[in-house]
Every structure is written in structure tokens, then in C-alpha cells.
């Protein structure tokens, strides 16, 4: 018999009580109650809501429980309503940078949970379903402060059916048991905390602090990124899916690399609005840049395919708009196969894995692809990868020797395939 003290609802309530109270006392909520929040700050609130709701929507697609999956989808509908309210207010989709920075931190955690630990999403759903319960208290304040004609779809979507939904949600939660330190409790806590920080940045409205790209990745500089909530979520999750596929990323580049993955992906997503020629040239340039930094074109190819799928399926972007990403991915793949067939890479990978089984199981294909990139004229493709992979001090003698053998085998295979031979 289940111990009622460990049901998910009880655990989540207990774990988040203090941060929940802190959120209710954040400066934006206080200003809203006092009638002092500006329209721009309210717009920022809707932008933050759009982003976080979209993140839960996308992450929730990975949930096994169909009831919880439906709650995630309904969260997405609220996010879309927030976006429509924003548009009706005539405000841009880009949150103030400080609020974007704080909300992106947890949006990425939510998306990663979806890919790596979907059961943790119960915590994020709990926060957002719970937020609907207070909507009817806040809506009159919004109307009083900004006028009855202020767009209210975000609020009305939350209020409609909320009591029944809460009952159903709690019933769904009852099927879960959580430890006090479960990933779900941690994610719920993080969501409350980061949401509070994002809302604190809205009143007083912080001055623009760097670019949107720097809000995603402080080291990114000032380049263009997408900021519309669902596109930003699509960009981020495409990068994270690549991250999950290739443990090499985490092992070599760590958290800094992951931030670059997100900001690069948000830039690549903006390219779909450019002409095909311009987008393809820029992606080709990026491929060269990354290849020289230990990221063979295979990685960008994978990311472009994921991004295409996310934009088509999650953002529902017309295929004609996002097809350029597939074309760029196909070009990278075709160029690689000119020098090294897929079958050869599979053979090399199998041989390597048998000789050196370890956590970095993905690296054989990367080394092989780097050899193909080298044949394609990227002179730094191999040394930028093997300088790390074949480092004895880091990975041990046996692994280093296996990488060296793999490199020799890949070059030999490429020599027999590539019309240009291997250029060293």
C-alpha cells in the first residue's frame, strides 16, 4: 500500500513551499498588485510565460504517461495564447535580456529533462498547473490596471476548466511516488526560483543588458538569434538532442560548449528567414569553423536535421521555409560520402568499439568523419579532434593507441574511396 506521505503532490508541495512563497513576493507581482507595473513589464511577463510554457510543451512530448502528456500540450496552448496576447499588445517577441537570461536557464533544464529524465517534468507541470489556480485573482488586477480591452487570452485559457483539470492532474500525480530529493522536486524548485528571478527583472524593468544572444550564452557576442518562444525552444532542443547523441560534446566541451550549442542553434534558426543562397553559404562557413575546433561536419549535419524536424513539427513552420536546413545537411553528408562511405564508417566504428569499449562510444564515427572532412579541405579537422582524443594523459595509453589505429584505418579507407586521396 502506498504511503500517502510520499505521493508526488505532497512531496512537490513540501519541496517548493518556500520558493513558491518567494515567487508570490517577487517585485513584479508586488507591482502588479499595487497597480505599478508598466505595460512593457507586463509584456515581458507574457514573453517569459510563452517561453516556459513552450518548453514544457516540447519537453512533455517525451512523457510516457498520456494524461501528463496532454497536460504538457495544454500548457503549450497557454503559451501560444500568451504569444497572441503579446502580438495584440503590439510588443515584440523578445523578452528583456535579463528576464530572457533567467528564463532560458530553466527552459533549457526543462528541455534537457524531457530528453534525459522525462519523469522530472512532473515537477514543471505541477508549477504551471498550480499557477492556473491563481489566475482568477490576477486577471481583475490586469484588467483594472491595463484596461478591460487588454488582451486576456492567456488568462482566460488558464481559468477555463482549471478546477476539473486540477482534480485530474492530482489523480495523475497520485500514480507517481517521489523521493524528497527527486528530479521532479528539483525541477519544480528550479522553475519557481528562475521564474522569480525573471519576474524580478521586470520591475523595475532592467535596462537592456547585452544582446539576446548573450542572454542565451554570455560569451556569444552580439549576433542575431531567434527570440520568438517556440522557435527558441525548437533551436534549443535541437542542440540538446545532438548533445544527447554525442557524449563527446559533454566530455570535451562541458557546460560552456552546451551554451554555445544553444546560441549557435538560435542563430542557425534565424537563417531560415534569409535567402537560400545566403543561408547555405553561412552554414558552409560554420561547418568549416566548427570542424577546425574539434567538431566534424557530422555533428552539424545531425543538428541541422534535428532543427529542421523541430521547426516543421513543433513550430509548424512551412516545409518550404525550413527545407534549406535539410539541403545544407544533405550537402554535408554528400561531401563526406565522396571521401568515405557510410558502410566504411560503420565498419570502422564496430572495429573501434570492440577494441576500446568505453563511454565515448560515439567517437569512432567522429574520427572517421574528420578524416573525410580533411579530404574535403578542412586541414584542421583531424588534429583538432585527435589532439584531445588521443591524449594519453587524459584517456590512457590503450585508448590513445586505439584512436591512433582508428585514424590510420580511416585514412586508409578514405584513400581507397576519395577521388582526392587523403591530404595530410
Amino acid at each position: 500500500m502506498q504511503d500517502s506521505g510520499t505521493t508526488a503532490l505532497v512531496r512537490l508541495r513540501a519541496a517548493t513551499r518556500s520558493v513558491h512563497q518567494q515567487l508570490q513576493g517577487c517585485s513584479f507581482v508586488t507591482a502588479l498588485v499595487a497597480g505599478e507595473a508598466s505595460k512593457a513589464a507586463y509584456g515581458g511577463f507574457l514573453q517569459v510565460m510563452a517561453l516556459l510554457h513552450a518548453a514544457i510543451d516540447r519537453a512533455g512530448q517525451e512523457l510516457a504517461d498520456p494524461t501528463l502528456r496532454e497536460f504538457a500540450a495544454s500548457t503549450g496552448r497557454r503559451g501560444r495564447a500568451a504569444q497572441r496576447d503579446l502580438a495584440a499588445l503590439g510588443l515584440p517577441p523578445e523578452p528583456p535580456t535579463a528576464a530572457l537570461r533567467e528564463s532560458m536557464v530553466v527552459a533549457e533544464e526543462i528541455l534537457w529533462a524531457g530528453l534525459a529524465e522525462p519523469e522530472a517534468l512532473v515537477g514543471a507541470l505541477y508549477v504551471m498547473q498550480g499557477s492556473r489556480q491563481g489566475a482568477s485573482d490576477l486577471l481583475p488586477l490586469i484588467a483594472e490596471h491595463f484596461g478591460d480591452d487588454v488582451p486576456q487570452e492567456f488568462w482566460s485559457t488558464g481559468i477555463e476548466g482549471r478546477a476539473d483539470d486540477w482534480t485530474r492532474f492530482v489523480a495523475a500525480l497520485d500514480a507517481h511516488t517521489l523521493a524528497a530529493t527527486s528530479p521532479a522536486c528539483e525541477l519544480a524548485t528550479r522553475l519557481f526560483v528562475q521564474l522569480g528571478r525573471a519576474l524580478d527583472a521586470l520591475h523595475p524593468l532592467a535596462a537592456t543588458d547585452g544582446s539576446a544572444a548573450m542572454a542565451i550564452n554570455p560569451e556569444a557576442g552580439n549576433h542575431v538569434v531567434v527570440t520568438e518562444a517556440r522557435r527558441l525552444v525548437a533551436a534549443t532542443v535541437a542542440g540538446l538532442r545532438c548533445w544527447r547523441d554525442y557524449p563527446y560534446y559533454e566530455a570535451r566541451f562541458g557546460a560552456r560548449g552546451r551554451r554555445y550549442g544553444s546560441s549557435d542553434s538560435a542563430w542557425i534558426t534565424a537563417l531560415v528567414d534569409e535567402t537560400e543562397q545566403s543561408a547555405l553559404r553561412q552554414l558552409d562557413w560554420l561547418a568549416g569553423l566548427l570542424t577546425s575546433r574539434g567538431m566534424p561536419t557530422l555533428l552539424l549535419e545531425r543538428q541541422l536535421r534535428y532543427l529542421h524536424d523541430e521547426l516543421r513539427d513543433f513550430v509548424e513552420l512551412d516545409e518550404s521555409r525550413c527545407a534549406v536546413l535539410l539541403r545544407a545537411a544533405d550537402t554535408l553528408g554528400d561531401r563526406r560520402r565522396t571521401h568515405l562511405h557510410d558502410e566504411a564508417i560503420e565498419t570502422l566504428s564496430a572495429r573501434f568499439e570492440a577494441a576500446a569499449p568505453l563511454a565515448l562510444a560515439d567517437v569512432a564515427s567522429l574520427v572517421a568523419c574528420a578524416v573525410a572532412d580533411e579530404c574535403d579541405g578542412h586541414t584542421q579537422a583531424v588534429p583538432s579532434l585527435t589532439s584531445w582524443l588521443a591524449d594519453e594523459a587524459r584517456h590512457g595509453e590503450a585508448f590513445s593507441a586505439a584512436v591512433t589505429q582508428l585514424l590510420a584505418d580511416a585514412r586508409s579507407a578514405a584513400r581507397s574511396t576519395s577521388p582526392l586521396g587523403v591530404q595530410r
Binding site: 544582446s211 557576442g221 552580439n222 549576433h223 542575431v224 542563430w267 534565424a270 528567414d273 534569409e274 535567402t275 543562397q277 545566403s278 553559404r281 553561412q282 562557413w285 568549416g288 569553423l289 577546425s292 575546433r293 586541414t379 584542421q380 583538432s384
Partner: protein, 209 residues
């Protein structure tokens, strides 16, 4: 005359961050009477293009790239005593970078090249906010606005800016160029009157001749 040997020596010192040695090379060239355009295009520009290429291929760090750029900007000022002796011709240009663009050395070379031809070139540097640029242009009434863009990702912002500039200044000639257009390819402003995307400094000088 910039021989291959001299260029290699300069480039090697530039990548080593040796400002003094680079300065001596440039000062010797000026003392020998080198043309300023030759100095700018065949030494400064060529060397920085190579620096950019080395950074792209991860052969040098971004710190080395920044050092080389800073040294080059400092060395350009060695040419100013001669630059300022050029007789003014009463033509005015404003030279700036695209909004968000942080690489200003190309724009500075454009401003100096116009000065070499007697123009009064107002160089605004990197990342000038659009409202301030519009006010500046309104105050100075230039016949040419030159905008430099080094990073292709600045294009969307520039595409938003051009109609606003045009709306405020209907007769102004706008010239746009920079390394970003290596990647952008086709002219994104082809349908805009009096907006010229130029692929080389010589194209700009032909445009304003």
C-alpha cells in the same frame, strides 16, 4: 613597395603581437613614400584578412586576432600626418558599422580611404544605435553613408535599418560592404534605390569618383 618578404615579416610580427616591430616597418614604408592606398590595401587589409582566415581555421586564438586588429588600428594613425595634408574637396561622408556590429577596423579603413581623396569622413565606429545614427546624419548632411558589416548575422538588423534610414534621408547614397558579404552572396538590397552593396574598396571609390 611591399615585397612578399616584407609582408611575411610584418605578418609574423603582427601575429606575435609585436607592436613596436610592426610600427617600425610601417614607419619605414611611410618614410620611403609608399602610397597610402597601397599601405592600407596591400599591407593592413591583406594581413587582417589572413588573420581572420587563421582564426576561422582555429590556427590562432580570438585573443591573437584582437591583438592584431588593435595593432593595425594603432598603426593606421601613423599615416594620419600625410592623410590630413590632403586638400579637402568639400564632400562629406558618414562611415559606420551595422547595428550590433563590433568589428570596426574595416569601416575605419573606408573612412581613411575617403579622407585620402579629400573627403571629410565622419567615422562613428562600431555598433552605433540607429536613432543616434539618424540624428548624426541629419546634423551632418553627408552625401554618402557607408556601412560596414563584418559578420553575416548582422544582416537582419541592417535589413531593418535601411528602410528607416531611407525614410529619414530620401536622397542619401548608401554604400554597404564588408567581409560578411562573402557569405551573403546575392545583393539583399537590390530592390532599394541608391543602396549599393560593394565587394571591394575600389568599388566604393569608383562609386564616389
Amino acid at each position: 613597395m611591399i615585397t612578399p618578404d616584407l609582408y611575411q615579416r610584418y605578418q609574423q610580427r603582427l601575429l606575435a603581437g609585436d607592436r613596436r616591430a610592426c610600427g617600425e616597418i610601417v614607419q619605414q614604408l611611410l618614410d620611403d613614400g609608399i602610397g597610402l592606398e597601397e599601405l592600407y590595401l596591400d599591407l593592413f587589409q591583406t594581413a587582417l584578412y589572413e588573420v581572420g582566415s587563421l582564426w576561422e581555421r582555429n590556427r590562432i586564438s580570438v585573443a591573437v586576432e584582437h591583438t592584431a586588429t588593435a595593432i593595425t588600428e594603432a598603426l593606421m594613425s601613423l599615416a594620419y600626418p600625410r592623410l590630413f595634408q590632403v586638400r579637402r574637396i568639400g564632400r562629406t561622408a558618414v562611415v559606420t558599422c551595422a547595428t550590433g556590429e563590433l568589428h570596426q577596423v574595416g569601416a575605419r579603413m573606408v573612412a581613411d580611404s575617403l579622407e585620402m581623396r579629400g573627403w571629410d569622413a565622419h567615422f562613428l565606429g562600431s555598433n552605433t544605435p540607429l536613432p543616434d545614427l539618424l540624428r548624426y546624419v541629419d546634423d551632418t548632411k553627408p552625401e554618402l553613408l557607408a556601412i560596414s558589416m563584418s559578420i553575416s548575422s548582422s544582416l537582419p538588423r541592417l535589413q531593418q535599418s535601411i528602410p528607416q534610414i531611407r525614410s529619414a534621408q530620401q536622397d542619401l547614397t548608401i554604400a554597404i560592404g564588408g567581409q560578411a558579404f562573402r557569405l551573403i552572396g546575392e545583393d539583399p538590397f537590390a530592390d532599394q534605390p541608391k543602396v549599393h552593396v560593394l565587394s571591394a574598396m575600389s568599388d566604393l571609390l569608383t562609386l564616389v569618383a
